[in-house]
Amino acid sequence: MAASAVRGAVALRTSVGRPVAFVRKIPWTAASSELREHFAQFGHVRKCIVPFDKDTGFHRGMGWIQFSSEEELQNALQQENHVIDGVKESLFRDRDRRLRQTNGRKPAFTPAK
């Protein structure tokens, strides 16, 4: 179960090309709420997932951020440095949709009003 599966449950409904960023090198001190807080500056974070390894109690240093719009995602991607808890993150556009599918769950979505 992802870190924030029930915490926030709103998102945009486009079946393809969802504006999702993939974040790597998340410091262990940060979890989804810290990520959410950081990325809120670029737009509305609809969904933020940092999966934890239940065998260790640590996350694996990566997560996914879903924005409301492509524009917001681009804002985030264009920012050169993302520093959370003093650690520089690596941010990519999430292209590997397969990954989330094999993980067995997709973020929850509600239709845009």
Partner: protein
């Protein structure tokens, strides 16, 4: 340009090529490489000169082995060879980077070697070799044990040992100060029929000497003499140690004289042995004297030698002398790994304080504050159980020295990983004391630890600890980390209650719910929801419910739970109301399932929907549409009709519930006020609600009305609202009122930033600066995000060319210390002038930034522009400055990139060929990334070409970047050329490069001319293994991919390619392509695809979505006849076209006055209105419009009047919206019609009390700017002013639509 280059060349020192530290490479490489002594820094007075010899020997033996192996089957040979390369690479990398090999890595390499079958001799050598001083984290005895384990295991596996292995083992013994009997060792060798050689004897002498056994050493020495073996410096060095350890310093010194007499000059190793001997005695004076002697001679000691002396002092208990030796260290970068090794060794020996002393002396670059140094030290301290007080002290020291930004957090992580709860707890307390947050998930690893042993008491302790620290366990903590420790969830509650750690909030109940949901226990969920008395919001339940639903197939329970949620006021109190809440829930439920899951559960879902229908559960229209699209995408359109039955038929505006809430609050407020009761809470609630509705006008009015009752919170929300609406005036006034109310009150950071932004934007600079000052004074928390917001404010102003704003705000931000100067925050200063093309000033500003803040913002862009404009003098100036301030190399790279960027390749070439320039991987990668992100293929190609001869350049990495850009452009030909180029240049590609290349070729259906290296990741491997797919499915995949990424050109090209090759896809694919082309307005291409599909696939039809898009496109292009046909075809196929498509078509017909077509459509969709979501008003409005267009105004008006006044009304008057008709009539300036409609509307109002039309007309007049007409209408028909609900809907809609708020007074 040549003139330009001169100073650069002149400034550069001619290419000094520094030696590379390649400790382990020697094992594989040939002789002739620089000597590298590996015996550091464990006390190893052993023969270092013998090191060189033994290295050469190792190499020779490896070669012998190779010959031997060739007799074996080649496959196993190859496997062994690659196994060896892999192991060597791993170990070598580790030593080069960190000066050591972690135990786990060695274990891994060892296990791997064992699994590879019969390990070769060179592998055995490599492993044995690694068990000495390269394992500083292990105690000496453990290292030797490890070596023995390896020795025995490999022997069992059939590895044949020769003398090199025995010598390697001896070396390990020496490095580990292992006590053994040299005679036994020799006996063992004899038993194995291995002849000892000179190295063996030397090392045995060293072994005797290490324990001060001169007699034993002499025996071996005598033996060597009888065998006529030469006595080398190594032997003498060992003897120095031997005498010293026997307590005879005089004779130790004498050895040097003996040496000289024997014709051997004492070298660094002999002196080092002597120095260590004095250090072990704590004799600093003699150490100093000896060092001076060495300095005076033409010998010199390397840092790593000095490290040994430090170790000797510390271990012998004289740490006070360490600093004197440290002073002599030169700290060449390449010795950092050696320093790390020493630090770890000291920690292992429990000499942590000395270790820290050395660590702090390490020259680490502290510029960016992002590269932490010292983690290895902290981690090892945790492993070695260093007391927590010491650890906290170390963390502080590292932080103060700016070596490590998050030392405490890192140490905590180590404690958690090592599962040391007490230490972790102490560290968390320390974090808290330092003002850092202690977060819930910090406790999870500890809980995992106890969970694994099912240690309930331990878990309780942690929960108590969390409580003490003020950290509340959240739902996840319970579900994932607490519950698994217990047999059942029920027992948890009891145990927690017993121990007093059951939280008061409803988190625990939620967790219970979630946990039962995961198990699909819907019975529990239902009874919980029925009996629950705690306030739960629907949103907090949604995730758990969806999980539970998906894990249980009991549809009756699904429905019962849904009904409960729908009908029970406890769960649907949110502003949403039951229909929307349940609607969203259904949407989320379906969305959370995969398409195959929905397909599999189709029947269950159908049953569910029908049961809901029976329970009278309804969902709003818009959510239904969302669900419909989902089902469409999941390829289960059959379910759509089953959801459709749930749609709420009454067309109630979804905002109505909201209005009620607002008006409720308003009336409560008035009531309270009238009763003279405190209104603060209600007022705040109402203001917050209006703010969330973005209703600024009303919120401000409310504030004005209840000024005296306003509190800080309300003001804060209002200020923020005004900032969002770009209303500087009110925001500022509110801020002043806020201050008057409570001058010490602090807004949150975002609100301050919002104020600065809006004030700056409106030129109220002094006010903006005052806000910034206040932020400083009130010590508002500045986060990274805040700094970024500052940047955006400045950058926005810079792009608007507001010089004053940028300069003053920047100045204020930086001087107040709200943000540290950085290239980011200061770049707008330069942007200002770049945008204005004022290059001299831009450069001046950048230079000024460097003078003030030591940063050079946007220098690359400045240089590019200067080069474009040919501003030679300014370029010269920039270069002089950069090389003076940041070094010639930086300047050369700046210039190189600028020339490349501007296409001046010749000049770029000259720069990069400057003698002495060497690769700077990070800068090169920076430029590569730039090129890739802006897709500059040529620039990147040139970069790769020009850097061919660049010293130390990672060619493979550059080619990898080039391939990346080719992949983006799908250019397999050039990618293929890269492959050849790399061979030409003799570059060995890494695995990732080959894989990328293979991917590009496969994507274009090309053959891959090489073995693709295997991947570690199973997942990726799978995707590559499935490569030999038939062409058509490959193309189809590409096409669908392109559709997904909305690359219409690519998609269309794939279609054409497939067409050429006579490949036919399935109908689905063509539908996707047509949809994409239509959305991109490529009408002709879409028609081409449609024609092709229709002629090649029997019975091909467009699906619902594609048909709808086609109608819209046809309408846009004014092909109304064709659009009508498309609609008819779709309906004949029992498709449901989208509402928007049908509406657009009807509207287009109306504007043409084509009454017949509208009536035809009305007939066609008869009975489907609800599924399409088409209101009857669309027809009424448009039929009337068509009639008016045909000059039948009276007929149109008569019809409408009839509908509204006759007994059998088709539509409730309050929903009889004619706004569209009115708007069109006004827009099209059909004056006679406007007049007659106005008369009709007034008549309906005055005679029939139907006010909706007249109010709509009034609003449309206002909206079209015909304020006078509107005012006249209002005067004639005063009842308009009472139609507040209609106004409210209108205001909200138009404010959303245009982001403005209309103001009018009734």
């Amino acid at each position: 340009m040549a003139a330009l280059l001169r100073p650069a060349r002149w400034l550069l020192r001619a290419g000094a090529v520094p030696g590379l530290p390649l400790p382990l490479r020697l094992l594989a490489g040939g002789p002739g490489r620089p000597r590298v002594a590996l015996c550091l820094p464990a006390a190893c007075p052993g023969p270092a000169a013998g090191g060189l010899l033994s290295q050469a020997r190792l190499y020779a033996i490896a070669a012998e082995k190779k010959n031997y192996l060739q007799e074996e089957p080649t496959s196993s040979h190859r496997r062994n060879a690659s196994q060896f390369d892999w192991a060597l690479m791993r170990l070598d990398n580790s030593v080069r980077r960190t000066g050591r090999i972690p135990k786990t890595l060695l274990q891994k390499v060892f296990d791997n070697t064992c699994h590879s079958g019969s390990p070769g001799g060179n592998q055995a050598l490599l492993l044995l070799r690694s068990c000495g001083s390269l394992l500083p984290e292990l105690k000496l005895s453990e290292r030797t044990e490890f070596a023995h384990r390896i020795w025995d295991k490999l022997q069992k596996l059939g590895t044949v040992y020769d003398v090199s292995h025995y010598n390697a083992l001896l070396k390990v013994y020496l490095q580990n100060e292992y006590k053994f009997s040299p005679t036994d060792f020799l006996a063992k060798m004899e038993e194995a029929n291995i002849q000892p050689n000179r190295v063996t004897y030397q090392r045995l002498i060293a072994a005797y000497c290490n324990v001060g056994d001169i007699e034993g050493a002499s025996k071996i020495l005598g033996f060597m003499k009888t065998k006529d073996l030469p006595v080398t410096e190594a032997v003498f060095s060992a003897l120095v140690t031997g005498h010293a350890r026997a307590g005879d310093m005089e004779n130790a010194e004498n050895i040097l004289t003996v040496m000289k007499e024997a014709g051997i000059e004492p070298g660094p190793d002999t002196y080092l042995a002597l120095l260590n001997a004095y250090a072990e005695k704590g004799d600093i004076d003699h150490v100093k004297q000896t060092l001076e002697k060495v300095e005076k001679s033409d010998l010199y000691l390397m840092d790593r030698d000095l490290f040994q002396i430090i170790f000797s002092f510390s271990k012998a208990g004289y740490p006070q002398y360490v600093s004197e030796i440290l002073e002599k260290i030169t700290y060449e970068r390449r010795y950092i790994p050696d320093a790390m090794n020493l630090i770890l060794l000291l920690v292992t020996e429990k000499l942590e304080d000395t270790a820290l002393q050395i660590l702090l002396a390490c020259p680490i670059s502290r510029e960016d504050g992002l590269n932490d140094f010292g983690s290895f030290f902290l981690r090892h301290c945790v492993t070695m159980d260093t007391p927590v007080e010491k650890l906290k002290h170390y963390c502080k020291k590292l932080k103060d020295a700016q070596m490590h930004t998050s030392a405490l957090q890192f140490t905590l992580q180590c404690a958690l990983l090592a599962n040391k709860p007490d230490l972790a707890k102490a560290l968390m307390n320390a974090l808290k004391e330092e003002g850092f947050p202690v977060r819930t998930h910090y406790f999870w690893p500890l809980l995992v630890g106890y969970q694994k042993e099912k240690n309930v008491q331990g878990v309780i302790e942690i929960l108590k600890g969390m409580h003490e620290m003020g950290v509340n366990p959240d739902q996840e903590t319970y579900v994932n980390y607490v519950f698994p420790c217990f047999d059942s969830v029920k027992s948890v509650r009891a145990v927690l209650q017993e121990n007093g750690c059951l939280p008061e909030s409803n988190v625990f109940s939620q967790a219970e719910l979630k946990s039962e949901a995961v198990n699909g226990n819907l019975d529990y969920i239902l009874s919980f929801l029925e009996s629950n008395t705690l306030p739960f919001s629907f949103t907090s339940l949604r995730g758990s419910l969806i999980l539970g639903f998906r894990r249980s197939m009991n549809i009756n329970l699904w429905s019962k739970i849904t009904e409960l949620l729908y009908k029970d006021g406890r769960y649907c109190q949110e502003p949403l109301g039951p229909t929307e809440a349940v609607g969203y829930f259904l949407y989320n439920l379906i969305d959370s399932m995969s398409d195959s899951e929905v397909q599999a559960k189709e029947e269950h879902l159908r049953q569910y929907f029908h049961q809901l229908k029976e329970m009278n559960v309804k969902i709003p229209e818009n959510i239904y549409r969302g669900i419909r699209n989902l089902l469409d995408n999941y390829h289960v359109p059959e379910l759509i009709k089953d959801v459709n039955i749930l749609v709420e038929r009454e067309k109630i505006d979804s905002r109505k519930t909201m209005q009620l809430t607002i008006s409720d609050l308003e009336s409560t407020l008035e009531k309270l006020k009238a009763e003279n009761q405190p209104v603060g809470d209600v007022l705040k609630q109402l203001i917050l609600m209006l703010c969330s509705e973005e209703n600024m006008q009303k919120a401000l009015e409310l504030k004005a009305k209840y000024e005296s009752d306003m509190a800080v919170g309300g003001y804060a929300a209002l200020i923020n609202l005004c900032c969002r609406h770009d209303n500087a005036e009110d925001a500022l006034n509110l801020k002043q009122e806020f201050d008057r109310l409570d001058s010490s009150a602090v807004l949150d950071t975002n609100k301050y930033v919002g104020l600065v932004k809006v004030l700056g934007k409106h030129g109220k600079l002094q006010d903006a600066i005052n806000i910034l000052k206040e932020m400083k004074e009130k010590d508002v928390l500045i986060k990274d995000a805040t700094v970024l917001s500052f940047f955006h404010i400045l950058n926005g102003a810079a792009l608007r060319g507001e010089t004053e704003t940028v300069q003053q705000l920047h100045e204020a931000i930086v001087t107040l210390g709200l943000a540290k100067p950085s290239t980011t925050i200061s770049s707008p200063l330069v942007t200002l002038y770049l945008e204005k093309d004022d290059l001299p000033t831009a450069l001046e500003v950048a230079i000024d930034c460097h003078k003030k803040y030591k940063i050079l913002p946007r220098i690359h862009d400045v240089l590019c522009k200067l080069i474009e404009k040919g501003e030679t003098d300014l370029i010269q100036k920039a270069m002089d400055f950069v090389s003076q301030e940041q070094g010639e190399m930086t300047m050369l790279y700046d210039l190189f990139f600028a020339f490349l960027q501007t296409g001046n390749y010749k000049e770029a070439k000259k720069i990069i060929e400057t003698p002495g320039i060497r690769a700077r991987p990070t800068r090169l990668q920076w430029f590569c990334d730039r090129c890739i992100s802006s897709n500059q293929v040529e620039t990147l190609e040139k970069l790769v070409e020009l850097t061919q001869k660049l010293f130390e350049c990672d060619r493979d990495q550059l080619y990898y970047n080039l391939l990346k850009i080719y992949k983006i452009n799908g250019d397999w030909q050039r990618a293929d050329a890269v492959w050849n180029k790399m061979q030409e240049e003799n570059i060995i590609p890494r695995g990732k490069t080959l894989r990328l290349l293979a991917e590009i070729l496969r994507n274009s259906n090309q053959e891959v001319p090489f073995d693709v290296p295997e991947l570690w990741d199973e997942d990726e491997k799978h995707s590559l293994d499935s490569s030999p797919l038939p062409e058509e499915s490959n193309l189809q995949k590409d096409l669908l991919n392109a559709c997904q990424w909305k690359k219409n050109k690519d998609a269309y090209n794939i279609f054409l390619k497939a067409q050429n090759r006579n490949v036919v896809f399935n109908g689905e694919t063509y539908n996707s392509l047509i949809k994409l082309l239509l959305t991109k307005d490529n009408f002709t291409q879409a028609m081409q695809v449609k024609d092709f599909a229709e002629t090649h696939i029997k019975g091909f039809t467009l699906n619902d979505a594609a048909s709808s898009l086609l109608i819209i496109t046809q309408v846009r292009r004014d092909y109304l006849k064709e659009a009508l046909t498309t609609l008819k075809t779709a309906l004949d196929l029992e498709q449901i076209p989208s509402r928007i498509a049908v509406t657009r078509l009807i509207q287009a017909c109306a504007l043409k006055g084509d009454l017949e077509s509208i009536q035809a459509i009305q007939k066609m969709v008869n009975g489907l209105e609800d599924s399409i979501g088409l209101s009857n008003m669309v027809f009424i409005n448009n039929i009337a419009l068509a009639q008016i267009k045909n000059n039948n105004i009276d007929v149109a008006i008569e019809n409408i009047e009839n509908m509204l006044t006759s007994g059998n009304q088709t539509m409730e008057p309050q929903y009889f919206g004619l706004a569209y008709l009115f708007r069109k009539v006004i827009e099209e300036q059909l004056e006679p019609a406007v007049e007659k409609i106005s008369i009709m509307a007034e008549r309906l109002a005055n005679q029939f009390a139907v006010y909706k039309p007249v109010t709509d007309l009034f609003l449309q007049l206002v909206d079209s700017g015909k304020v006078d007409d509107a005012r006249a209408l209002l005067q004639r028909c005063g009842a308009i002013a009472e139609q507040t609900p209609i106004f409210l809907v209108f205001c909200i809609r138009s404010s959303r639509r245009r982001g403005k708020v209309l103001c009018f007074t009734c």
